[in-house]
């Protein structure tokens, strides 16, 4: 097993090993492992002290910002207030100054009283309670040993926890599913208690001991949960439901939120009342000793447990699930299900290929797939970013991204920019309020390039990083000029040059600072030695070079930007600056290429006309596909050389790449890129999904111009069809690509 050690961030501390209920579905007492019988009832002082020490040492060694400790049992409240106080005190003391401590307790609630809650309030211990729903549902399993119901006592505990004073400690309700219960009655009973969170657990089961299916359906648990989902959704999702939120998160490319789903590596360890360090305790459902590691807090560090093969197996992500799961389109959401639920003591009958052990699908496999697909089909339309289908929305999302980057740069500086930055930052806010000038400058694709470079420079503590950030002043100056606002802006002069993004470059011949001010005729730049007037529309003068524009019939007006200092972001050299003759010739060839595209791929050309703003001349025709994050949407690097026949496909290819890149910058189209390699019809070596999607996207567009691309485009789309990496957004894009490919 390879890969770095995954530190534990979550410690389950068994403070008491017995329970005052006798739930017949409990994995601690009623399943295969019976080790509770030999454990001390209550955790010892020594085990508490060593646990606190080991945890602090672990958090320090791995620089963990926070750790969670979940007080668990048995029934943890049976440890009593004095013992629990000691646990809280020792952990708080040990973690003080090392890492934030997130203390939680999970209880059946029977013993919960102000005495406990006052203690929990003192130490910030938050409380989760088990409740299986309405009285009928809860009584099905959660009874005392003599058969009495626990329901009314649990409701009292919930009511106590809901009092204003204790409400901040309330974590919510945990419900174990029984398919024989009425899902709506169960959900309604839980929701009526207004918990801050709910989770539904599938009852622990293995292939040896499959879950009961009273209705006989192979997807009975999915059907039950989807009924709850529909109720929850129809009510406006009044509280988070961890199971549902996890599926929704992974469907959109985010992380799983529970160890029972998803491919995230396990980061939790269990400390038993005798100090034994164990793997996740649901393994007790598999076989006697399944959770054991042979380690304990007295003699072993948490790092030693983290390196245990049993723990490492559950940290392998995709490599840790069965072969069947690795090929399954929903594996990114289900992650093969809870590890325990995959267990089978003996190989299945010949021909099924199911081995003994954990290298199997989950005994809930059909349920998990039906649940994930059910949630996806119910929510996909609303989950997909509107930017995928609407160019206007894409432009808005792109602009919001650039604005967020500017806010991010402000935060990154954290006051280091001094008065100069503060003045420019406040001016930016004012300009944004009173004109579109700042929006126009922020929409300029190379503004994004500057922002990303400035952020990187600060984070890497590069020399000159502050000066890079302070270029904001020239962006604000350009915005003031564009907005024709009567606001003087102080700017820095770099080697006697002032570049005003989107406008042009001024040669002042002096260094230091200048003041830029919009005036009736254009704008005025006051340097220490001169006052320079640049008039509208700003023709070339000995000191001013404006950004040229492509102005030809039938072609959108586009900036031909060979001036911006951040335009060199295409992975291939940019032209240092065109003369008038070269610019005119390039414009003619670009216009001819654009008209050619308009004749052959009118829809794509019209679409490009709405988004493209800037063309920058490149020295070579070799333009590699680039990852997101180099420039904002709307820029293309185009070779200077070549006639319309060469430039037209180059433009189209660039436009397709730019569009996909712009989408990936504002929404998640796939996750776990690179976990799988898939065949690409245009090369021998298999590629990660991102490359396959990019190639398909490009070729579907090019196929409309040159049918020779059609076959490869279709084959790539076929390969993408059931790819597990695709999010709901990625699948939506794939459907759009299919339609486009079918139209030809």
């Amino acid at each position: 097993m390879t890969g770095p050690l995954v530190p534990f961030r979550e410690i389950v501390l068994k403070v008491h090993s017995r329970c005052d209920l006798a739930c017949d579905h409990c994995y601690i007492y009623e399943h295969a492992d019976q080790s509770w019988r030999t454990r001390p009832r209550t955790i010892s002082d020594e085990a508490i002290s060593w646990t606190a020490l080991r945890l602090a040492e672990h958090a320090k060694a791995h620089a963990l910002p926070s750790v969670s400790v979940i007080l668990h049992g048995g029934e943890p409240l049976l440890a009593g207030p004095a013992r629990l106080r000691r646990v809280c005190e020792e952990l708080t003391r040990a973690l003080d100054g090392v890492a934030a401590l997130d203390l939680r307790i999970h209880t059946n609630g029977l013993q919960l009283s102000p005495r406990y809650l006052d203690l929990f309030e003192e130490f910030g211990v938050r409380v989760g309670i088990s409740l299986d729903g309405d009285r009928a549902a809860n009584d099905r399993h959660r009874r005392f040993a003599d058969g009495r119901s626990s329901h009314s006592q649990v409701l009292k505990a919930v009511a106590l926890l809901r009092q204003d004073r204790y409400r901040p400690l309330d974590l919510g309700l945990l419900c174990t599913v029984d398919a024989a219960n009425d899902p709506v009655a169960v959900y309604d009973a839980l929701a009526a208690l207004d918990p801050p969170r709910i989770d539904f657990l599938l009852p622990h089961a293995t292939w040896d001991e499959p879950p009961p299916r009273p209705g006989g359906s192979p997807t009975e648990y999915a059907d039950w949960l989807l009924t709850v989902f529909d109720r929850w959704d129809a009510q406006g999702r009044p509280m988070p439901v961890r199971l549902f939120e996890s599926v929704l998160s992974t469907l959109s490319g985010g992380p799983s939120l529970t160890e029972s789903l998803g491919l995230a590596p396990t980061d939790l360890v269990v400390v038993e009342t005798d100090g034994a360090l164990e793997q996740v305790d649901s393994l007790k459902s598999a076989y006697e000793g399944a959770a054991a590691t042979g380690f304990d807090v007295f003699s072993h560090s948490f790092d030693e447990v983290a390196a245990h093969p049993g723990v490492r197996t559950r940290q392998l992500g995709l490599a840790g699930v069965s072969e069947t799961c690795r090929e399954c389109p929903v594996v990114r959401s289900c992650g093969g299900g809870l590890y325990t639920h995959r267990y089978r003591s003996e190989p299945a009958e010949a021909g099924t290929g199911a081995p003994g052990g954990f290298d199997n699908t989950s005994v809930y496999c059909a349920d998990l797939e039906a649940l994930i697909r059910g949630i996806e089909s119910r929510t996909a339309a609303a989950s997909v970013s509107p930017a995928l289908a609407d160019t206007g929305e894409l432009m808005v999302a792109q602009e919001e991204l650039t604005r967020s980057l500017l806010a991010g740069l402000h935060a990154e500086l954290g006051g280091r920019g001094g008065a100069e930055w503060q003045e420019a930052w406040e001016l930016a806010g004012a300009v944004e309020q009173h004109s579109d000038g700042l929006d126009e400058v922020l929409a300029h694709p190379y503004t994004r390039t500057w922002l990303i470079d400035a952020m990187a420079a600060l984070r890497e503590a590069r020399p000159g990083a502050l000066d890079t950030a302070l270029r904001l002043r020239s962006y604000v100056a350009a915005a003031v000029v564009r907005g024709r606002l009567d606001l003087p802006v102080r700017v820095g002069l770099t080697d006697g040059v002032l570049h005003l993004p989107t406008l042009g470059t001024l040669r002042t011949g002096t260094g230091g600072e200048a003041e830029v001010r919009a005036v009736e005729q254009g704008f005025l730049v006051r340097t220490p030695t001169a006052e320079l007037l640049v008039g509208h529309p700003g023709g070339t003068t000995p000191y001013w070079r404006p950004v040229r524009h492509l102005r030809r019939d039938g072609v959108p007006v586009l900036a031909l930007d060979d001036l911006d200092p951040y335009r060199d972001c295409f992975g291939t050299p940019v032209h240092p600056g065109l003369g008038d003759e070269a610019a005119a010739g390039w414009s003619d060839r670009l216009a001819a290429a654009w008209r050619l595209l308009g004749d052959t791929v009118p829809e794509q050309t019209a679409e490009a006309g709405r988004t493209l703003s800037t063309l920058t001349p490149l020295l070579t025709a070799d333009t590699p596909a680039r990852a997101p994050g180099h420039h904002g949407h709307g820029a293309l690097g185009v070779p200077l050389e070549g006639g319309a026949e060469e430039l037209a496909p180059a433009l189209l290819r660039g436009l397709r790449r730019a569009r996909l890149r712009a989408l990936t910058e504002v929404t998640d189209l796939y996750a776990l890129d690179g976990e799988w390699l898939r065949p690409a019809p245009w090369q021998e070596e298999p590629v990660p999904l991102s490359a396959l999607l990019a190639g398909a996207y490009e070729r579907v567009g090019l196929a409309a111009y040159d049918p020779r691309h059609r076959d490869q485009a279709r084959r790539a789309l076929d390969t993408l069809q059931d790819a597990a990496e695709l999010t709901v957004g990625g699948k939506s894009l794939l459907a759009v690509l299919r339609e486009e490919a079918d139209r030809g």
Binding site: R104, G172, L174, E432, L438
Partner: protein
């Protein structure tokens, strides 16, 4: 006389947060930035994922 621009911003400006009020610690904004910026090592607190507790 106007400067060349092909974009109008009226729709975008209607409901957006003013620049100075954008909170980069907000999870949504952080996610947005994470798509284009290499993010520093994850220092955020994680939610509890233990199945048998909240």
């Amino acid at each position: 006389m106007t400067y060349q621009t092909s974009v109008t911003f009226a729709t975008a400006k209607k409901n957006r947060t003013p620049l100075a009020e954008i909170d980069v610690r907000d999870a949504g904004v952080a996610k947005k930035l994470g798509r284009v910026l290499p993010m520093p090592t994850d220092r955020t607190a994680r939610v509890s994922s233990f199945n048998s507790a909240l």
